[in-house]
């Protein structure tokens, strides 16, 4: 090594840009500034109680039964020229709010369907009140049947596709097995059908001594403050890792906005109707009645082998609430001539609002509806 090269190395190491780089001026400092800005943004919106921009698609209430409402979304401005598209009714979970399917502009199943010109109806099961006392699984299925009829009348069609999300799909399966008069096709999104799986939720629901009637006798409708911690502990370290991921992404405004919307939804659970909760734990989780054929309605048993409408079942490979086998395996027993099962990458919520939704779920739904468009018959 010559003296000249040593001098040049020292000189380049002492150059202002090199010194600044070593001090972190080009990465650590901007990162820290961005994270501070992100933390201040979250603190400001929290202090101001600024609502997250969730559920952006405007809708009108066209029918109510107790606390439950049937909504008709308004046409998307970009789709006013499109006519004749197959309508769809969304049947969301009874534990969470409907707007996970319409989380925020750009991340919304509803928005995609409206943009493609499909008339979209949805059920908001609402927060159960006096009218929901004693309404069990069969009663909720009857409400879905009633809402489907109303939506068909409103859309001037005989039949309509129903998209059931999570437990809303389980109810839709019961309807398809007992009365498919107004069902064009069935889309099941992370829908539990077999309840004896290896998940934590199933293990706890089947724990020794657990009798849901003890709980409903005490609290009536099972409130969100009781179910929310139970859902959170299904991923025991989930809250810790969520906070660490948030810390990592504090400098990313797009992520922060998404995080706010998702957290708003996650923490906005509704109570579960008392008798529905009893049926869910006793008949479905403990008795596995839907797949065993022992679920009895007033008119007889609910037999999933009697489902003949075209069916598309979508499950998530990393789902910790509804393991994918619980969603897709029983669906193979349907008698439907068109009966597809798709397992997508992601978790229970990720397949609806994550990047997989944009890449796979939305095109899959739109293609499915396009296939059904030959069938709707005007009344």
């Amino acid at each position: 090594m010559t003296a000249t090269s040593i001098v040049s190395r020292v000189a380049s190491a002492l150059a202002p840009s090199a010194v600044l780089k070593r001090l972190g001026a080009f990465d650590a400092v901007p990162n820290a500034v961005a994270r501070t800005a992100g933390a201040m943004y979250l603190a400001r919106v929290t202090a101001a109680r600024e609502p997250a921009p969730v559920a952006p698609s405007p809708a009108d209430i066209i029918h109510t039964i107790g606390a439950a409402q049937l909504l008709r979304y308004r046409q998307h401005p970009e789709a006013t020229h499109i006519t004749g598209k197959a309508p769809i009714l969304l049947s969301p979970s009874l534990v969470n709010r409907l707007y996970v399917l319409d989380l925020k502009a750009g991340i919304s199943v509803v928005e995609q369907l409206l943009k493609a010109g499909h008339p979209v109806y949805a059920i908001d099961w609402g927060n159960p009140g006096e009218a929901e006392r004693g309404v069990g699984f069969e009663g909720i299925t009857a409400r879905l049947e009633n809402f489907l009829e109303e939506a068909c009348v409103d859309a001037n069609v005989e039949k309509m596709t129903v998209l059931g999300h999570c437990l809303g799909g389980t109810v839709a399966v019961a309807l398809a097995a007992t009365n498919d008069e107004h069902l064009q096709s069935l889309v099941l999104l992370t829908t539990p059908l077999a309840f004896h799986d290896n998940g934590l939720l199933s293990a706890w629901s089947r724990a020794p001594f657990i009798d849901p009637k003890d709980i409903t006798r005490l609290v009536g409708h099972v409130p969100a403050w009781l179910t929310q911690p139970a859902f959170q502990i299904l991923k025991p370290l989930g809250q810790t890792t969520k906070m660490l991921r948030l810390w990592q992404s504090l400098g990313n405004p797009t992520f922060l906005e998404f995080f706010r919307c998702l957290e708003t939804w996650i923490n906005d659970n509704v109570a579960i109707p008392d008798a529905f909760f009893e049926d869910l734990i006793t008949k479905l989780y403990q008795g596995n009645a839907l797949v065993d054929g022992t679920l009895l309605f007033g008119d007889g048993p609910v037999v999933i082998e009697q489902i003949t409408v075209p069916t598309l079942s979508i499950a998530a490979s990393e789902d910790h609430i509804v393991p994918f086998a619980s969603a897709v395996d029983p669906a193979q027993r349907f008698a439907s001539p068109i009966n597809r099962q798709v397992v997508m990458d992601g978790g229970h919520i990720g397949v609806v609002v994550g990047s997989a939704a944009r890449r796979k779920l939305w095109p899959l739904l739109l293609d499915w509806l396009a296939e059904q468009e030959t069938a709707p018959t005007p009344t």
């Binding site: 004693g134 934590l200 005490l218 990592q248």
Partner: protein
């Protein structure tokens, strides 16, 4: 040489602190989470939890006379 290149690439893309944090989160989300799930699913945990839930809800229900429900619909 290959090792140096890999280290250099990693260093250029992600700061070491971020990478350590990433690996820590992966560890929490993966193996540690699975271990805790197994513990929470075991009968050693489920039996006492189930028993205490039953005793508590029955006792409170008896004392407080919880909401009465209408006929099932």
């Amino acid at each position: 040489m290959a090792k140096q290149t890999k280290q250099a690439r990693r260093g250029a893309d992600v700061p070491l602190s971020e990478e350590l944090l990433d690996r820590g989160i992966d560890l929490l989300e993966g193996p540690l989470n699975r271990v805790l799930e197994r513990v929470l699913k075991s009968r050693v945990v489920l039996l006492p939890i189930g028993f205490s839930v039953m005793v508590t809800t029955k006792a409170l229900g008896f004392v407080l006379h919880g909401p009465h429900r209408k006929e099932r619909r």
